[in-house]
Symmetry: D2
Subunit: 337 residues, 4 copies
Amino acid sequence: MIIVLKPDVTKKQVAHIIERIKALGLKPVVSKGTERTIVGVIGSEDILRVQPLEVIPGVEKVMPVLKPYKLVSREFRPESSIVSVGSVKIGGKGVVVMAGPCSVENRQMLQETARAVKQAGAHILRGGAFKPRTSPYSFQGLGEEALKFLHEVSKQTGMPVVTELMDVRDTPLLEQYADIIQIGARNMQNFDLLKEVGQTKKAVLLKRGLSATITEFLLAAEYILNQGNFNVVLCERGIRTFDDQTRFTLDLNAVPVIKKLSHLPVIVDPSHGTGSWDYVGPMAKAAVAAGADGLMIEVHPNPEVALSDGPQSLLPKKFTALMKELRAVAKVVGRTL
Amino acid sequence: MIIVLKPDVTKKQVAHIIERIKALGLKPVVSKGTERTIVGVIGSEDILRVQPLEVIPGVEKVMPVLKPYKLVSREFRPESSIVSVGSVKIGGKGVVVMAGPCSVENRQMLQETARAVKQAGAHILRGGAFKPRTSPYSFQGLGEEALKFLHEVSKQTGMPVVTELMDVRDTPLLEQYADIIQIGARNMQNFDLLKEVGQTKKAVLLKRGLSATITEFLLAAEYILNQGNFNVVLCERGIRTFDDQTRFTLDLNAVPVIKKLSHLPVIVDPSHGTGSWDYVGPMAKAAVAAGADGLMIEVHPNPEVALSDGPQSLLPKKFTALMKELRAVAKVVGRTL
Amino acid sequence: MIIVLKPDVTKKQVAHIIERIKALGLKPVVSKGTERTIVGVIGSEDILRVQPLEVIPGVEKVMPVLKPYKLVSREFRPESSIVSVGSVKIGGKGVVVMAGPCSVENRQMLQETARAVKQAGAHILRGGAFKPRTSPYSFQGLGEEALKFLHEVSKQTGMPVVTELMDVRDTPLLEQYADIIQIGARNMQNFDLLKEVGQTKKAVLLKRGLSATITEFLLAAEYILNQGNFNVVLCERGIRTFDDQTRFTLDLNAVPVIKKLSHLPVIVDPSHGTGSWDYVGPMAKAAVAAGADGLMIEVHPNPEVALSDGPQSLLPKKFTALMKELRAVAKVVGRTL
Amino acid sequence: MIIVLKPDVTKKQVAHIIERIKALGLKPVVSKGTERTIVGVIGSEDILRVQPLEVIPGVEKVMPVLKPYKLVSREFRPESSIVSVGSVKIGGKGVVVMAGPCSVENRQMLQETARAVKQAGAHILRGGAFKPRTSPYSFQGLGEEALKFLHEVSKQTGMPVVTELMDVRDTPLLEQYADIIQIGARNMQNFDLLKEVGQTKKAVLLKRGLSATITEFLLAAEYILNQGNFNVVLCERGIRTFDDQTRFTLDLNAVPVIKKLSHLPVIVDPSHGTGSWDYVGPMAKAAVAAGADGLMIEVHPNPEVALSDGPQSLLPKKFTALMKELRAVAKVVGRTL
């Protein structure tokens, strides 16, 4: 921690600052520059992080030297983590594709979609049972019934299932029926939910919040690892910006940035990220080229009548064509699919 | 709902669109313009809202005519709502001030702060028991113990208490100890939590999400009203933008905008909104001048040792001085304080 | 300047870094902490600012200690600056109001508007001659003809004139006809234009760019002061955010923030900032309460037929009523109007 | 244009609105819905675009049906445009790479860099002569001297040159020495500069403004086409968001979005877009995978001593390795490089 003092700081104020630092068991190092005096603090930065040093008279600004997260960082674990779900490995050489409908609308459409995406080469089945909807008047999901359909279709097709958990009270249900528990963007900082899934042994797919910085995203993951669950997969799904041509702004920069800062696998959801099926293909290919460990793509047999997110869903035949293209891109960047 | 068709739409596509609208029990009105054909749809827009019309071939864009919320709108209730909490009325002529420490750290500091803010003229005591912290290594609040302190100090001072609910499972505790249940910015779209407080009879203080549009903010409130609880107070507390001089960008435009669109009371939190005690005064006065129904302000007897948000807390004597200034501003804009 | 080294930095890399700093005539101070080694640099930070230290092997990050601007800062000049335009003083006790039409459409409407705003108490006449319009198909302003009308009406009413300069080649024209040269938001980083007005002796009204941080805004002003012209007035006029209920997000936080960092006067433009006449009143009052030194408000005798920005223009009678309210707010915050 | 009327609109107000529309030579079509009356307007939307219909009493909102740009749109020209610069074709099957130093620092470094990038397969030489710098204390470029070096090195290597124009008065110089005139992000809405290059016959590289929506970006291009110059190449170079891990947020979504809306070629600048050399490779590959027509990449023989943007510049050998990878990605998406 570096403490920059104000140009007009008094001797008494400097003495008070030094005393405060010593009282915390840390060692202050005062250094006088041409225009400012600086106090470097030697010892654990964690102790200082919770102290509001900025309010001490004479302090101009406080600059942390270390990153605020630990367990998720590459410094903690230099090699990339692989999260295993059944026989699927996320974070290794293979690019993992999760596909399926936005919401599970009924058993038949789920079966139909699951067979189609499996046939096209998808590894994991996605489908929403509990749906976080902006409006209370929108379809809220079939709930437990959908979980049962997912479980059934998972057995039929051999694909593990990823589905979203919204309410801490539904955790046991998800543990029973799901292979990967998804935490949605709107719950990325629902800290009780993070702690809850941190106490399960399930793999967790953590989606980036709409306005979360990458540091906040990694700190949200830190909540899960800190509870003992290291099976976390991060998912970039679009951030909120001023542009209005896409539903969100899919931030592919997050892929190389997170790969540098963290050992956790990173996947990309171009369906929610763009909100429009005709941008899903280009952005999915771009994600793989940027180094993503996987993709999450919405597929619906008849988007015209989808109960949620129809505009961003691919028809099965378009998904099949896209998988071929993705395979080619994966290959030239040293991955398999 | 207005459906704009593509310039190269075919007759067959137009027929299909019309058929789809009629099948939903609505009346299509086709209108040929110079450059585009447009289909107006007469009947309830709600039916169409859940239909992904954009994916039907030949459709260029879909433009809703009505606002997506109802119960919170001024059209539904033209006169401004007043939310009563004990003898305090929020949304009337009086500007209501909620003040207290960010977190309840112990009984003594709470008592000391409560007496000071009461003395200065505050109406409601704020204090966090469950704290949503970006980092798992930060102080997470005293939990139920803090609720008991709040309840005790509330009785001693006669001030109702507002405190945050983070976990649906704690709702009964909050119903027991709090007068106003706060839903924090990070939980604004935690829809299960919204439904839960919608089923209580407690007043709810709903904070705007960091990246929530005003439409989304009102839809979050709609979730609560839709469950039967109309005692909702909205709170602007800063949005996320690119600027880095303040912790968030307090968006005072939200005050007149919400006042125009909704009948619900709107208050402003300049402490979280700016993150810096020396901006709290100017922005608090500005909020009252802009028409806010109240303020939420953090006060701490010794910000240097606060366990959370010290940099944005006012000392009791500064708060007392600010209250005088606020009273003068309230008066010239036709309010009392 | 503080240079934080990587945890795995080698001795050779440290030696190279120290050598580079010494070669620049500066003094490095190495300090080993528990988890990182840090190099403090003593001497002028300016020399380092242009050096890409981040790319030197072994460097993790570089943290500047000083602010990047000088002449505009309160450290350079602790007392607030007053910019005089004729008998009008901007930045003193009085709140200065600039009012008039968005564009000068013809002589008659300008005269009519000017008389009305003068009558209501405005101090300076605004009116666009050269208009920066998003679309090439929108009205681009009357150009020199408008400048002549402004000059004429200025003489008739005794109000100084502020109008926008867009093209460096028009500087002599503006010097002839205008009292304050406005640099618009879209040209805030048109550095040649800044240098050009920095070489005139005219007062300059510099509007904040749509996505300019306050640091960038102050650096843009620094370009003007650096050329010798210290008569600069800053104007907050709304930034670009995700919200869509107002045209821009008027950022009133900028007022106390700039007042703290700089000695230059700050005014607020609620007309462009909100884009809607019914939000102008509340936000104008809020701006004065927040400490603004002035306001810029659009007034049009018949907004229905305005050639630009009709929706955000006030009718003269509404402006007159607002001036009374503003006067009351100014008074209670220790200002005059 | 669709005009939605307020629920409480009076007959007199409706009559006034209809009269206003007829007076403009357009045909109003009134349609009464369940909750709102709507007025569709038949005839040229351009006439209405400049009219502030929102201010007419009784009007709730105005929704344009058509896009505000014409010449740049795919409707105007369905096939993709190819911009030819010497023998280089931008917008065809080949992915075009522009590479070179951020600033031209001296003849030797330019020659060295130019030879290296030519050798690696770059098509066009980039290099700044006039530099738009946030701070007046940063290196501002060598000006005309740099243009001469660029011209000389262009002849030696056979690569056309792209360099930035900042000041309308320098247009003749750029016409003499440059093959492509670049308009930088900060000047995207410097409308006089746009008109000026619109009157030349040179190819123009228009960079997207930091906070420009794609609609505004296309309207800026429209200014150039509208003056008769159709040789415009668009360049995505990062937008301003809240995230702080990259200098800007490179918005690759812009590539498929612009490809859908416009016939103009689109290239991507991952160097400025990310601000960090280690993200340039992944984002360059992603840009090609997303469908970009080209790339602009900064290369410097010794980034440690670069006078501008050192942190984002690639060493020649890294650039050479990247070109090989880009070639492979281009191939699998049906392009050549």
